[in-house]
Symmetry: C2
Subunit: 147 residues, 2 copies
DNA sequence: CTACTTGCAAATGCTTTGCAGGAGA
DNA sequence: TCTCCTGCAAAGCATTTGCAAGTAG
């Protein structure tokens, strides 16, 4: 799922409006960077692409975008947090996490697998009192570049 | 899978010896704490239980235990890293992550589900060049206590 | 005796916050 | 004008490292 930039911006604008926030230049730039990056990006990743941006504003804007449901935090195996556009924008998917370089990439599994997994999880959690909201399925290993 | 403490200590001792490291008092205490905790514990969790322990030594020992294959890092949704005994000691399982309090709990799915999942992942990754080493399946939601 | 571990303190690195100035509605 | 956003600097936190002293083998 590789959405058109224009569509994304329009949708993001709408979400921010719903959250009573503005779609400012700084926020638009973050969305563009994430869209271009194509996989979860850490703050250092983004700062390398746009050294002019201010860290604190980026963090603040990322937080705002997150609470508006536009981006989501991804936590890999190293400590730096990564961000990517929300699944409602780029589709449900999972992550390949490289233990060597820490890079995170996206991948998808067939819908059938996804459904079977959901059903199995629901069954496994019945009676635990835990209210499942979503799941996270990551594959840990070594990426093609590091192998 | 709730192993006997004695068995665990013996196995841990063996693993450390294989890694040419000693099973010192500090390391033994960490293993005991993790065993007692029963779910992934953050450093603050452990320090609360044993305020006398030194942070730096705990971190160092945890790192050593990790490279000896005795404990493994768990990364939840908040930034603090959590640790638990390796799956080779307490069995393969998954995590319930509470978005409210950050607590992480263990749960298991039927072996059949696990196998189907493995097969599906293998199929989905064929030809990507990514060398899968393990997977991570977490359920994100709200725990019984916070609900 | 020698190597490894410990404890304390200082340093790192990512992330957050305070505050004054600036831009948009 | 009033509110929200930005930039800069300082603060926070979990984690790491340097170094001298302690301890096991």
């Amino acid at each position: 799922m590789r959405p058109e930039a224009d569509d994304v911006h329009e949708l993001v604008g709408r979400r921010l409006r719903e959250a009573e926030q503005m779609y400012t230049k700084g926020r638009r730039e973050l969305v563009e960077l994430l869209l271009a990056f194509g996989r979860p990006a850490s703050m250092p990743d983004l700062l390398e692409l746009r050294p002019k941006l201010t860290q604190s504003s980026m963090y603040r804007n990322m937080t705002d975008l997150e609470s508006a449901g536009v981006v989501q935090k991804i936590i890999g195996t190293d400590e730096r947090t990564r961000f990517e556009l929300a699944e409602t924008l780029i589709g449900h998917h999972h992550h390949l996490i490289c233990t060597e370089c820490g890079a995170v990439d996206d991948f998808e599994v067939p819908a059938r697998t996804e459904q079977a997994l959901e059903a199995d999880l629901q069954r496994a959690l019945a009676g635990t009192g835990f209210r499942a909201h979503s799941h996270r399925l990551d594959v840990i290993g070594v990426c093609a570049r590091c192998a």
